[in-house]
């Protein structure tokens, strides 16, 4: 792996939800992402993957842990100093209908990012820069004077990406950037993201639940369950040799658009639902749904350990 650009160590995000209850949305996760690399973060709703993304970019203040960018722990720097780091990391949100202000023109939506970081010296430069950026993502510079409602979902997501690119970030958190889009549009956006990564050497954290898209996009993939990372490996290796029973079930649950494959597939159907993260099971968080759980799993929480070269999983029996 190339030199880590971002290192997450023991990151926790707990929410106090009243009644002396603590919701451990993200509970002690660690990983690093190399420069120019894409790390996929997958899991079901409520597993903490979006919270992890938002905590890394400090939309939420982390409860514990460190976030190092190029060696500097950004959880220690003050809000005002943090601004400089913000321009290095940006986020693309899931819903392109909700994440663009309907009362602002595209010029102002993207221009706002330039203003905040003082990247445009004059009005003319601001406009020119926005138009350039729009061209990069495949929109027309003349679109700058329009409002978000004049665009389709795919185009709006391009605008969301443009806004993130405006401050010339090195690291982007993509929080389910395609799940609100139609299938024929998804591939357009994915190709754009890959293109941008190649051209600008961007580092991505790709948060998603679509496992085939994650495999396609990512160099390495981390699987989360109830706020913890249960498995992390190179994407080919994770899909070919899943070690954790949850990963195995997750992979077998994806319906593949090929009738012959589906007919021959042995599907692992998990019983029950995701337990509440307020009151997670003792020991291994997955044991309540695991087909192979034993007494040891209830008593002792499995640690992440290397089960194959470069492949870590948190299961006693992996």
């Amino acid at each position: 792996m190339s030199k880590p650009f971002i290192e997450i160590e023991g990151l926790k995000k707990h929410f106090d939800i009243g009644n002396h209850q603590i919701l451990k949305a993200v509970d002690d996760i660690s990983f690093s992402i190399g420069k120019g690399e894409t790390l996929g973060l997958v899991g079901e709703s409520g597993c903490g993957k979006s919270t992890a993304g938002r905590t890394i970019i400090r939309l939420y203040e982390p409860t514990a842990g460190s976030i190092k960018i190029d060696g500097t722990d950004v959880t220690k720097v003050s809000k005002s100093q943090f601004k400089a780091y913000r321009s290095q990391m940006q986020m693309v949100f899931q819903d392109p209908y909700a994440s663009l202000n309907p009362r602002m023109t595209i010029l102002d939506i993207i221009g706002e990012a330039l203003d905040i970081h003082g990247l445009a010296k004059s009005k003319a430069e601001r406009k020119r820069r926005v138009e350039e950026l729009l061209e990069i993502v495949g929109l027309n510079g003349e679109h700058a004077s329009r409002y978000p409602h004049e665009f389709s979902g795919g185009q709006r997501q391009r605008i969301g990406i443009t806004r993130a690119l405006a401050v010339q970030p090195q690291f982007m958190i993509l929080d389910e950037p395609i799940s609100a889009l139609d299938v024929s549009i998804q591939a357009q956006i994915i190709n754009l993201l890959i293109d941008l990564q190649k051209k600008m050497g961007l580092t991505y954290l790709f948060v998603a639940h679509d496992l085939s898209m994650v495999k396609y996009m990512s160099d390495r993939v981390a699987v989360m369950y109830l706020g913890k990372i249960v498995e992390l490996a190179k994407s080919e290796d994770l899909y070919a040799n899943p070690q954790h029973p949850y990963t195995k079930a997750l992979l077998s649950a994806i319906p593949v658009p090929d009738p012959d494959f589906e007919a021959g597939k042995e599907r692992i159907v998990l019983k029950g639902d995701l337990p509440s993260p307020v009151n997670p099971p003792s020991g291994c968080p997955f044991r309540t749904r695991c087909p192979a759980a034993t007494e040891r799993c209830a008593a002792e929480a499995p640690m992440l350990r290397e089960t194959r070269p470069g492949h870590i999983a948190a299961c006693h029996y992996a």
């Binding site: 079901e44 549009i185 591939a187 495999k215």
Partner: protein, 338 residues
């Protein structure tokens, strides 16, 4: 096999501020006994409007059924009065909606919601309806149905609520079940549970299913036949093998190519379909897909393609496959089959 449902030349429009949205245009298809048919398409392709029209759930105005027939066991549903239609809904046709969070009544117990249909349609007594409701909950895999029956929807998880929806839909042994994106709001592992349940129940009850979805993976998993809709029209129909292994319409081919396969190499780029679907206030004069089609010809711009029948099961609307087309079937078709 007997046809349960026969939809003929159905056209539905909505009158909105900007004009008339021609949501579905000349749609014809049928569903046979015990068959699972998928309707796939993007948002705005008319798949949900088709389902809602069959159930007569289109609000009029703004909606208007302009032409066509919906024959259920030979009876035209579009000619029934609202009162007669109420005897069909939930009785002969069951429906599962996309969002189990909002399609159950939060102020009624789950049991009452299941019993409602049984008492209404099958004139069961309260006691008999309750026994049947417990049976149904057990059938859809809800543990402790005796206690669960007197609980409210908020006490159920998303997957459990969708199971309740299925129980309601199947309560009166309908001959047709319409499932409109039944798993879109659910997580993959829960989706797998619900799909397995639907497959098992279909084998048990022999109910015909219309499954509306945009997920081609689900189609490959549980359906026999596939209807592909685009811009308010059916562009291709066939068995799942026709559609997945031998797609002939450029849109179907494009859809399949734009999905990453699990064995896809990272360096092999996805092939997206450029552009976006047309505005149905002014639907294109010719083929709806023309503006996004790489193989469009002159005729595609001016004339809407007729239905070309390729085999007993496989038909499509595309000039490229028309018997008088100059070129043989496009080379793209072979690449697309995975």
């Amino acid at each position: 096999m007997k046809k349960i449902l026969d939809v003929k030349n159905l056209s539905v429009s909505f009158h909105v501020y900007g004009g008339e949205v021609q949501a579905i245009r000349d749609v014809s298809f049928d569903v046979k006994e015990g068959e699972a048919v998928a309707i796939v398409g993007e948002s705005g392709s008319g798949k949900s409007v088709t389902a809602q029209t069959i159930m007569r759930l289109i609000q009029t105005p703004p909606g208007k059924i302009k032409a066509g027939e919906v024959l259920l066991d030979g009876q035209d549903l579009l000619k029934l009065s609202e009162k007669e239609m109420q005897k069909v809904r939930g009785n002969k046709i069951g429906m599962i909606f996309q969002d189990p969070m909002t399609s159950l009544n939060p102020t009624m117990t789950v049991g009452k919601q299941i019993m409602e249909g049984l008492i209404q349609h099958q004139s069961l007594s309260k006691g008999a309806a309750k026994t049947r409701a417990i049976e149904l909950l057990k059938m859809v895999g809800i543990p402790n149905p005796e206690t669960r029956i007197s609980q409210y929807p908020h006490q159920f998880s998303g997957g459990m609520r969708q199971r309740v929806m299925i129980a309601i839909a199947l309560a009166c042994n309908p001959s047709l079940l319409i499932a409109d994106e039944p798993t879109t709001a659910l997580d993959v592992t829960i989706q797998a549970q619900i799909l397995q349940l639907m497959k098992d129940l279909q084998q048990e009850t022999k109910t015909s299913i219309i499954l509306i979805t945009h997920d081609l993976g689900i189609v490959a998993d549980i359906c026999d036949r596939v209807i592909v809709m685009y811009a308010g029209q059916i562009v291709e129909t066939g068995t799942k093998h026709d559609i997945f292994h031998n797609p002939k319409h450029p849109y179907t081919q494009g859809l399949l190519k734009s999905l990453p396969r699990l064995d896809q190499d990272k360096n092999e780029p996805l092939v997206p379909i450029f552009g976006s679907p047309p505005d149905l206030i002014k639907p294109p004069q010719g083929c709806g897909f023309c503006a996004r089609c790489d193989e469009a010809m002159h005729i595609c711009e001016t004339e809407s393609p007729e239905t070309t029948v390729l085999s007993d099961t496989h038909a499509l609307r595309c000039w490229l496959q028309h018997p008088e087309a100059k070129r043989p079937a496009s080379a793209g078709a072979k690449e697309a089959s995975v």
